[in-house]
């Protein structure tokens, strides 16, 4: 999509203290991130110089190849 430039989700998961090793439940991660986004002041989460917005993060989590992308990002 034109309105997003991809930023690895790992940084966000680490920032929120959400584990991403071993068996993952996307549904649980979504719940945790949902509550983190609603807790944040403007609806975004800023980690270092990167801004995460809920729309892009949820779209990433809903991708059928999310696990593959996560594995790839863990490697790099």
């Amino acid at each position: 999509m034109a309105n997003k430039h991809y930023i690895s989700i790992i940084r966000l998961l680490r920032h929120c203290g959400i584990g991403y090793d071993g068996e993952l439940s996307v549904s649980k991660i979504k719940k945790q991130l949902n509550v983190e986004f609603s807790y944040s002041a403007n609806g975004y989460i800023e980690v270092d110089v990167y801004t995460y917005n809920k729309n892009n993060v949820m779209e990433e989590l809903e991708l059928p190849i999310f696990y593959t992308r996560l594995r790839y990002h863990k490697k790099i």
């Binding site: 999509m1 034109a2 309105n3 997003k4 430039h5 203290g17 549904s27 649980k28 979504k30 719940k31 945790q32 949902n34 509550v35 983190e36 609603s38 807790y39 403007n42 609806g43 975004y44 801004t51 917005n53 809920k54 729309n55 949820m58």
Partner: protein
């Protein structure tokens, strides 16, 4: 943080307020009259202002001082003149009065500090910001906006009915008093999502009333009185029939309501017309209105089919149509929906209260920072004073919890945030039935816990905090209630594309680049990195313009609404800004669509911040002038095209638009950037409107013709490329690039987008021809036939013509081609280039 809990349906005809409390929604009643609805009508009497049903009673008696239906005019320049005040009021000011009145529905013991206010899904940023302003002016500390179809969906899915609600697609058909929305909703185990929507802010119940007036009442008055120019006079604002106009509107609405139940009704009223007393008795039957309502209903069904088709669905993929809004009571609406879609209709939600109820559901999960609680009674003050003397809570520890209070899942997450002295502190969470207990867990600055939920009930949990000696710190105790089985919404989608205008230097025009795409969930934030496309000297009058627009990414910039404009002039710069240097543009759009931008010029290390005023319009005059010229040229070309195709109807319409546009040309050209008047806003509005009307000219028929023309041009181009003698591979690449985007712009059904592609095909066609030896020879012979006047510089052209002749004789075609190109650049062209002085935005 405290939950907002209050939801408001700020309707065109009626408004309501509701509250979410303990997993239930309560719609408040007006303490006067005990009705849930408040008529969205304001009456300015000589010494007081009446709001609601009392005001509505004066609609027919004192029309000049009574105002209704102003929701449709929110965010526009429209002002209402109040005779009794001798001043103008705006739609937002009238809405503020409605909101203040609604607050009075709530008992004084409940402090209404924040509210969720609903708006139609198609409201643009100006309209939504005007609503936001009305809410803040009404005294709400914080206002959240919610799209009406989302509110309706929450009300429907969370209603305690026995109707089965399988996962899948649903349509919310919301036909209110003044606006129409249709939203495609996807329900899953996780919750609800707005997949897409369509709407019309000028289509609602009042349009049925206007239809009765136009097609039945006015013709009958003319028939009985013989006043030929009656219709014309009747429509004049503040004209001689002003009073009659509002009376008739009132009777038409009453007749419409009656005809929903009865086969016929009679409108009876008296009026003095041309000094003669008339008594009118007009009989209206269901059959009469069936005919005149059908085109209006068809318009809504057209939008319904569009939203279904745009998402690759058919009517058979839709579970049900959920009917919302007072106008869905009309039998014509229900009949036509059934006949034309075949989708089962669902009227299980109360069309009148569902938007307010849904807004309250949403408000239950929306949080704000409240003011310090006000002490309301002496008793409470005494208790507070006593409590203050007892050290229940060490002042250095604060604990906050965040969670969603409704869920479809078997478990829900709780976020616990703490700060202060956390050493030797513990927390424990238990469920009221004793089925869940975390035991003692060390308190940290941030923790999450998954809470298991019992299906179908309100699950109550308690979080207790303990010190190192296992003593409970009672003041930190939190109660958590989560209703299992209820739907929640992921977030609000953006109703239109948000784009910014960048230079298309090659074509000496500008184009749109998407920042946030339609249907993305709010809030959004993005940083763009671009280059400056022109040098701006320090202290000069040159300007960089950052134009942020709302509308359709496929349309021309002038068809869109400017919602933010930042101008950086030479005088603002600390040093020269060189072409090619970097610019960072950070754009934020909040949940309630407030736009914030931060622009950083890397070269000069300067930052420019803007939070755009909620109702202020943004116009850059130089940019407006260029948009004007571009639109004028396109219209001139279109008029010629219609003339060529002998399409007289479209030609007349295009000429009318061109004339209307040109009528402001003189005023626009004389405008200076520092002009104080409203003229630039008036002209900008007209340019936008004409641009949009030009896009719509000819409707689907013109779009079909353009698509056909595009497909034909594509076939012809392919043949020309295949015959090219040079650069065939390069040409083919360019051809495929255009073809790649084909599905998207054909489906966009946007004239401007298809027109733009046609122009690209035409440019490539000429490029392909200029790589064909046969064509080059023909051109060369043509140039040779020109006399000296045909060239800009014949002395320079003469030796090149000679060299081209020689190259042709030797069959040295690449050399020949080079010479023909050189000659063509020396030929006088009749094509006027209006963009030689193209300034653009300065952003590449």
């Amino acid at each position: 943080m405290r939950a907002v809990n209050f939801g408001i349906d700020l309707g065109t005809t009626n408004s309501l307020i509701a509250k979410y409390d303990n997993n239930k929604v309560q719609v408040y009643k007006n303490p006067i009259g005990q009705k849930e609805t408040l008529a969205s009508v304001v009456a300015y009497r000589s010494e007081r202002i009446l709001v609601g049903d009392k005001a509505r009673e004066y609609l027919a008696k004192d029309a000049m001082n009574v105002f209704g239906g102003f929701k449709r005019k929110m965010g526009t320049d429209e002002k209402y003149y109040v005779v009794n005040l001798d001043e103008n009021v705006t739609p937002a000011e009238l809405s503020t009065l409605i909101l203040r009145e609604l607050k009075k529905f709530v008992p004084p013991t409940e402090n209404v500090e924040a509210a969720v206010i609903t708006i139609p899904a198609s409201f643009d940023s100006m309209q939504s910001n005007a609503t936001l302003k009305a809410g803040l002016d009404a005294g709400f500390k914080e206002v959240f906006l919610l799209l009406e179809p989302i509110a309706a969906s929450l009300a429907f899915f969370n209603a305690s009915s026995t109707v089965e609600k399988p996962n899948g697609y649903w349509l919310v058909y919301d036909l209110g008093g003044g606006t129409f929305d249709v939203a495609l909703i996807k329900s899953t185990d996780e919750g609800l999502k707005i997949a897409d929507h369509e709407g019309n802010n000028f289509l609602g119940g009042v349009d049925f009333d206007f239809a009765i007036i136009d097609k039945i009442i006015i013709p009958e008055i003319i028939r009985q009185t013989g006043i030929e120019n009656f219709e014309e006079e009747f429509r004049v604002k503040y004209g001689k029939y002003e009073m009659l106009y509002y009376q008739v509107m009132y009777y038409a609405e009453e007749a419409k309501k009656e005809l929903s139940q009865a086969p016929a009704t009679v409108i009876e009223f008296g009026a003095i017309l041309n000094n003669t007393n008339y008594d009118f008795h007009i009989t209206i039957t269901r059959e009469n209105i069936d005919k005149i309502f059908t085109p209006i209903v068809n318009e809504t069904i057209k939008l319904l089919h569009k939203v279904v088709a745009n998402n690759g669905l058919t009517v058979s993929d839709i579970n049900q149509i959920i009917l919302v809004g007072g106008s869905t009571f009309l039998p014509q609406v229900r009949e036509q929906l059934t006949v034309q879609t075949g989708i089962p209709l669902n009227y299980s939600v109360d069309p009148t209260t569902s938007i307010a109820a849904g807004a309250a559901f949403y408000a239950g999960n929306k949080y704000f920072e409240p003011d310090a609680p006000a002490v309301t009674s002496i008793e409470e003050k005494i208790v507070d004073d006593l409590l203050a003397t007892v050290d229940f809570s060490p002042a250095d520890v604060q604990v906050d919890v965040n969670y969603t209070n409704s869920s479809r899942d078997k478990e829900e997450v709780l976020l616990i945030t703490s700060n202060g002295e956390l050493d030797n502190k513990y927390y424990r969470i238990s469920r009221s039935d004793g089925g869940f207990d975390t035991g003692f867990i060390t308190l940290k600055s941030k923790k999450t816990e998954f809470l298991p939920l019992i299906p179908g009930i309100n699950n109550l949990f308690v979080l207790s905090v303990y010190d190192g000696d296992s003593n409970e710190i009672t003041s930190l105790k939190k109660e958590i209630a989560i209703q299992q089985g209820m739907y929640n919404i992921d977030g609000q989608p953006l109703p239109h594309d948000i784009c910014f205008e960048v230079d298309d230097v090659e074509n000496k025009t500008t184009k749109l680049e998407v920042i946030f795409a339609r249907n993305s969930l709010l809030p959004q934030k993005r940083t763009l990195y671009r280059e400056i496309s022109k040098t701006v000297k320090k202290g000069s009058q040159d300007t960089i313009v950052i134009n942020i627009l709302e509308g359709d990414k496929n349309s021309r910039p002038s068809s869109n609404l400017t919602i933010g404009c930042i101008q950086i002039e030479g005088k603002d710069l600390q040093s020269d800004l060189i072409k090619g240097s970097d610019i960072e543009i950070q754009i934020q759009l909040t949940d309630s669509r407030v736009l914030r931008t931060v622009v950083f010029l890397v070269m000069t290390q300067q930052e420019f911040k803007n939070v755009f005023s909620v109702s202020e319009k943004q116009v850059n005059i130089e940019r407006l002038k260029e948009q004007f010229i571009q639109l004028e040229n396109e219209l001139i070309a279109t008029v010629r095209q219609f003339q060529f195709n002998a399409n007289t109807v479209w030609e007349i319409q295009a000429i009318a638009l061109l004339e209307e546009l040109q009528s402001v040309k003189f005023n626009l050209l004389k405008l200076k950037e520092k002009d104080k008047s409203d003229e630039k806003y008036v002209i900008a509005e007209r340019v936008t409107r004409i641009s949009q009307e030009y896009d719509k000219l000819g409707g689907n028929e013109r779009i079909a013709a353009l698509i056909e023309e595009y497909l034909y041009a594509k076939d012809t181009l392919l043949q020309v490329i295949n015959m090219a003698d040079f650069e065939k591979e390069e040409l083919m690449k360019m051809y495929h690039k255009i073809e790649q985007a084909e599905t998207a712009f054909i489906h966009s059904k946007n004239v401007s987008a298809i027109d733009n592609k046609l122009r690209q095909l035409s440019d490539l066609h000429w490029k392909a021809l200029s790589n064909n030896i046969g064509f080059l020879i023909t051109r060369f012979i043509e140039y040779k036939g020109y006399n000296t006047d045909g060239f800009k510089d014949y002395t320079a052209a003469k030796p090149i013509i000679k060299m081209a002749d020689s190259a042709l004789e030797k069959e040295a075609y690449p050399e020949f081609r080079r010479h023909v190109f050189s000659i063509s650049s020396l030929v006088k062209t009749s094509r006027a280039n209006n963009y030689t002085d193209f300034k653009g935005t300065g952003i590449g």
